[in-house]
C-alpha cells in the first residue's frame, strides 16, 4: 500500500493507463472472436447457403431443439432467409421513413424554428432518444397492436390468409412505425450537429445573392452536409438492425416472410428479424448445440453488418474534413 501512496513515476502511470486501455481493446476484440467461434459450426455445415431460402425455418429449428447434446450433422441444416429478409425489410422501411423526417426535423431545429421552439425541440429529441426500447415495445404491444388488429385489419384480409398466417395486428407496420420513431432522434442529433458546424458566412453569402432562407438551405447548407446525412443514416441503420426487444414484442414472432403480393395485408403480416430471433429463443442459448450455433450465427451476422456499416460511415464522413466541417 505504501508503495501505491508514493507519487507514481510517469513510467508506471503510463503502464497502468496503457494496460487498462489495452484491456478494453482486448475485451472487444475477444467479443468478436468468441461470437465467431460459437457461430462456426453452423457455417461449417451450411456454408453461405445459411443465408439462402429453402424449407421451413421453423421446422428446422424444431428439429435442432429435439437433438440434445450430441447433434448429428443433419441437425445443423438451416436456411435462414426468412429472418434475414425480415431484418432487411424492417430496417429498410424504417430508415426510408426516418431519413426525410430526420432531415426536415434537423433543418427545422437549426435553421427555421424560433429560439423558444428550438429549445423545446432539443429536449424532445434528447428525450425520445433515451426512451428505453422495452417501453416502445410495451406501448406497441398494448396500444398499437390491438388497435391495428381491431380496426385496420379487415376480415377479408384475415380470411384470405387464414391458411398461411394469422393476422393479429402484430407485424410489419407496427414494428416499422416504432423503429422509425426510435432511430429518427439519432439521425436528427447527428444532422443537427453537422448543420450547426456549417460556417455562417456560407449562409450569409447565399442570402446576399438574394435567395430566400429555404433556397439557401437547400442549395448551400444541405449540400455541404450531405456526407454527414449519409453517415447519420448509416449509424441509424446499424441501430435499427440490432433492435431486438421492441421487435420481438411487436412483430408477431412467426417465421414468415411478408409477401408484397398480398396487397395491403402485406403490412400486417408477422415476421422475425435476426435480433428478435435471438431474444425469442434465448432459452436455447447454451443448450442444443445446433440451435446455439445458429443463434450465435445471427449475432455474428449482426456484428459483421454493424462493423461494415460503421466503416462505411467513417469513409463517407471523410470528405467533410475537406470543408473543415465537423461531423
Amino acid at each position: 500500500m505504501s508503495r501505491l501512496r508514493k507519487p507514481w513515476s510517469d513510467r508506471r502511470a503510463e503502464l497502468v493507463l496503457g494496460a487498462a486501455s489495452l484491456l478494453t481493446g482486448a475485451i472487444v476484440l475477444g467479443m468478436v472472436a468468441f461470437v465467431a467461434v460459437r457461430a462456426w459450426p453452423t457455417f461449417a455445415h451450411n456454408g453461405l447457403s445459411w443465408l439462402a431460402p429453402g424449407g421451413s425455418l421453423g421446422g428446422q429449428i424444431e428439429s435442432m431443439l429435439s437433438t440434445a447434446t450430441n447433434a448429428p450433422a443433419s441437425a445443423y441444416h438451416v436456411r435462414a432467409w426468412p429472418i434475414v429478409y425480415g431484418t432487411l425489410l424492417i430496417t429498410g422501411l424504417a430508415v426510408a421513413l426516418a431519413l426525410p423526417l430526420a432531415v426536415l426535423c434537423a433543418v427545422f431545429i437549426v435553421e427555421l424554428a424560433p429560439a423558444r421552439v428550438r429549445r423545446v425541440m432539443i429536449r424532445v429529441v434528447r428525450l425520445l432518444a433515451s426512451v428505453p426500447s422495452v417501453i416502445w415495445g410495451l406501448l406497441g404491444i398494448l396500444v398499437l397492436v390491438p388497435y391495428v388488429g381491431n380496426h385496420l385489419v379487415t376480415s377479408a384480409e384475415r380470411t384470405s390468409l387464414q391458411n398461411t398466417v394469422q393476422l393479429t395486428g402484430a407485424g410489419l407496420v407496427v414494428a416499422v412505425v416504432l423503429l422509425t420513431l426510435m432511430i429518427t432522434p439519432i439521425m436528427v442529433a447527428l444532422t443537427c450537429d453537422a448543420l450547426t458546424a456549417v460556417p455562417a458566412a456560407w449562409r450569409e453569402g447565399a442570402a446576399a445573392l438574394g435567395v430566400n432562407r429555404l433556397r439557401a438551405i437547400r442549395a448551400v447548407t444541405l449540400r455541404a452536409i450531405r456526407p454527414a446525412i449519409v453517415a447519420a443514416t448509416v449509424l441509424a441503420t446499424a441501430r435499427a438492425l440490432g433492435e431486438a426487444i421492441m421487435i420481438s414484442m411487436v412483430s408477431g414472432s412467426v417465421f414468415f416472410s411478408p409477401r408484397p403480393s398480398d396487397g395491403v395485408a402485406f403490412l400486417f403480416e408477422p415476421l422475425r428479424t435476426l435480433a428478435s430471433t435471438i431474444v425469442d429463443f434465448r432459452e436455447g442459448l447454451g443448450g442444443a448445440p445446433a440451435l446455439n450455433s445458429t443463434l450465435y450465427a445471427c449475432a455474428l451476422l449482426l456484428l459483421f453488418s454493424v462493423f461494415v456499416l460503421s466503416v462505411a460511415g467513417y469513409l463517407v464522413k471523410l470528405p467533410l474534413r475537406k470543408y473543415q466541417v465537423r461531423g
Binding site: 507519487p7 507514481w8 510517469d10 502511470a13 503510463e14 493507463l17 496503457g18 487498462a20 486501455s21 489495452l22 478494453t24 475485451i27 472487444v28 467479443m31 468468441f34 461470437v35 433543418v107 427545422f108 427555421l112 429549445r119 423545446v120 432539443i122 424532445v124 434528447r126 428525450l127 425520445l128 433515451s130 426512451v131 428505453p132 426500447s133 422495452v134 417501453i135 415495445g137 410495451l138 406501448l139 439519432i186 436528427v188 442529433a189 450547426t196 455562417a200 430566400n212 429555404l214 433556397r215 449509424l235 446499424a238 438492425l241 440490432g242 433492435e243 426487444i245 414484442m249 435471438i278 431474444v279 442459448l285 447454451g286 443463434l295 449475432a299 449482426l302 456484428l303 462493423f307 456499416l309
Partner: protein, 338 residues
Amino acid sequence: MSVFVPDPALSAVPPRRRGRGSSLRTWRWSDRLVLLAAWGAGLLLCAVTAAILLYMGYRGVQYLRPSLIFSHPQASKNQAGSGGFLDPLLGTALLTVIGIAIAAPLAICSALWIVEYGGGGRVRRALTRVVEASIEIVAGTPDIVIAVFGLAIFQLHLLAFASFVNEGGGVYGQSFLAAGAMMSLIALPPLFVATRDGLQAVPAHMREAAFALGKTRIATIRRVLLPSVRANVATGVTLGVSRIIADTAIVIVLLGDELRITPHAGSLPGLNVLRGTGSSLTSYVFDNSPAGEGAAPQKAYAAAVVLLLFVLALNLAVERIARRHAHAGGAVAVSGIV
C-alpha cells in the same frame, strides 16, 4: 462518435431578424411546402413525445401505487396478488453499480492514455488507434450481441465462480456479476467519449504551466486535468447509467427468469447475491407484458412509468451538469444516444 446537440445558448447560428418586407408571400409554392413539411416534422416529434408522456402519466396515475415499490413480486394467477417490484428496482440499482464500477475506471484510464500519452511513437499511435476503434465497435454493437457474448464467456468453466452452477457442474452463465460486467460494455463508450472530449478541450497552456512548475505528467493528470474534466466525467456517468437502466436484452439473457433476487446457495454472503439471479425494471416490464409469461399489463405499466421517470430524471441531470459547466465543457455531449 461524439454527438453534439446544439445548445441554444452556444449555437453558432446568429438570431435572425426578419424585416417586414421579406414575408412568406414572396416565396414560391414549393418552398412554402417544404417549410410546412419542416414544421410538420418538428411538431410530429413533439406530438409523439407528448403522447408517450401523457399516456404513461395516465397509466401511472391509474396503476402506480407506493405499495408496489416496497413489496416483493409474488407468483400469482391474477394481477391483484402478484406483488410489487422491489426486487427489480434493487436489481436495476445493483446492475448500475456493477456496470459503472467496471466501466468508469476502464473508460477514464483509456481516455487519459489516449489523449495524454497517445501522441508519440509509431507503435503507441497504432495501439491508440486499435483501442479507439474497438470502443467504436462496442458502441455500435447491438445489446443483444453483447448479451450472447456475455453468456459465451460466463459459461466457461474458468468463470464458474461468477455464476450459477448446478449439481452436475453445468455453468449457467447467468448472474448479477455476468449481467453487470456486460452492462459495463454498454456504459463504456459514452463515458469514454465524454472524458476524451473533455480532455481534448483542456487548453494546452494548462498542461504546459503544470510542467513548467515541475509537475510530472501523472501529477498533472491528477491535480490539473482530472479536476477540470469532472463535469465531463459526470455527464459520461449519467449517460452510462441511463443506458444501463434502459437495457433489456442483457438482463433477460444474463440474469435469468426469476423475478425475485435469488442468491446462489452456498456462497459467501454478499457474493451469493452477485452470483445469484434476479430481475431489473426492464425485464420486469418485459416479463409482465403479453410478450413475456406474466401477462400482467397493469404491473408492466406501473414499472414502465417508474423506468420512464428515471430516464427523465437522468435527462434533466445531464442538462443541469451541462448548463452549470457550460463555460468549461462547451456544448452538451449527447454521445450516449449513438
